[in-house]
Symmetry: C2
Subunit: 214 residues, 2 copies
């Protein structure tokens, strides 16, 4: 299978997504966690993101690409996403970890679907959930149980996360047509398939919301 020209873009955006998620989750853990044990639990997920970054960077280098050059087109959009979605409290941080990253990961996985299997396997490996779901879901459900008014507030927050993700995603797609092409190829041909892709992503998002009881 021929390497798609969007592969370096895909690994680049994913590498920077992991590197920036690691830094933000570390900061959220240090500033928002209600206990040292919670701080350690979120830091553990952050460190896993860093390990994924390392795999992606090394694969980029293995493909003969400069990892810094591959990541740099995506720094602005991903930094903007994090700046627009800075959690105000611990529950918002957990919802961001689960929902925000979740929808991004659905996109990446979709884009990687028709690639060379060794690339697709790597993307699957770095997108593994790694306990993120269980940790966030349990804590958010417990938070809502303790304070039922939190549910509405967190539902709004989750909508904002999705809105910002789509907004930044669109900008990236128009700036990097080869990356966007991976999604179209993956979805099949034409507008109907793109609609189906969005329906799939929306369904996955709905499942995550339901899991948290939001």
């Amino acid at each position: 299978m021929k390497e798609s020209p969007g592969v370096v873009d895909l690994l680049g955006v994913l590498a920077y997504a992991e590197l920036s998620a690691y830094a933000r989750m570390t900061e959220d853990a240090a500033t928002l966690a209600p206990s040292l044990a919670d701080r350690a639990a979120l830091s553990e997920l952050a460190v896993t993101e860093y390990a994924h970054f390392r795999l992606l960077r090394d694969r980029l280098a293995g493909l003969g690409a400069d990892p810094d050059e591959a990541m740099s087109p995506f720094v602005e959009a991903l930094d903007a996403w994090h700046a627009q979605t800075k959690p105000a409290d611990w529950l918002q941080a957990l919802v961001k970890t689960y929902v925000g990253d979740g929808i991004a990961l659905d996109f990446y996985r979709e884009a990687a679907r028709h690639l060379n299997p060794s690339i697709a396997d790597l993307v699957d490996e770095v997108l593994v959930d790694g306990g993120r779901s269980q940790f966030a879901v349990e804590r958010v459900r417990a938070g809502i149980e303790a304070d039922p008014t939190a549910a509405g507030r967190l539902a709004l927050w989750a909508r904002r996360l999705v809105g910002e993700a789509l907004s930044q995603g669109q900008q990236v797609a128009s700036a990097r047509p080869e990356l966007a092409l991976l999604l179209v190829e993956s979805a099949g041909e034409g507008q109907a398939d793109i609609s189906r892709l969005f329906a799939t992503l929306t369904e996955a998002h709905g499942k995550r919301m339901a899991a948290m009881g939001i």
Copy 2:
């Protein structure tokens, strides 16, 4: 060898030192690194600190201590140290990584010297330099070569790091006499040995400064 009552304190302060160093180095890497490669290099050191935190926390639990309770007496002093020594630029961040952590590690190693060997070995393991020296020394030397006026500024910064470390260290020692006792026991008996300990620490600090060309 009998477990000293200061052991849980020592592992607790060390665990929180690693957890907070991990968060601060991650933040410094994300906000101050001049390139993505430098950001990754400092993040790599940060993640190593987290792995050390994990070892210490697990050992505390193995000793029957609650890791959160063991760490909590030291949160304020270590957070204050980081707040007082927030680097303003990349070279300050590197000097802090090398010099600031270095002098703290000398203290911990000294305190652990006469403990049960399995504890002393663990402390040695988490205090391993892990490439920190080489990375920081090379980058700082190159920075001073590119801008010789940086040397004086960084020398002042290093003095401030040491001053803040001693100040916070004294507060911790007076609040936690059993921890302070480990240092005295390690140094031998009496004031003359404490003076010798300080001479050793000062000498190690001088070597680090010379290595960076400051």
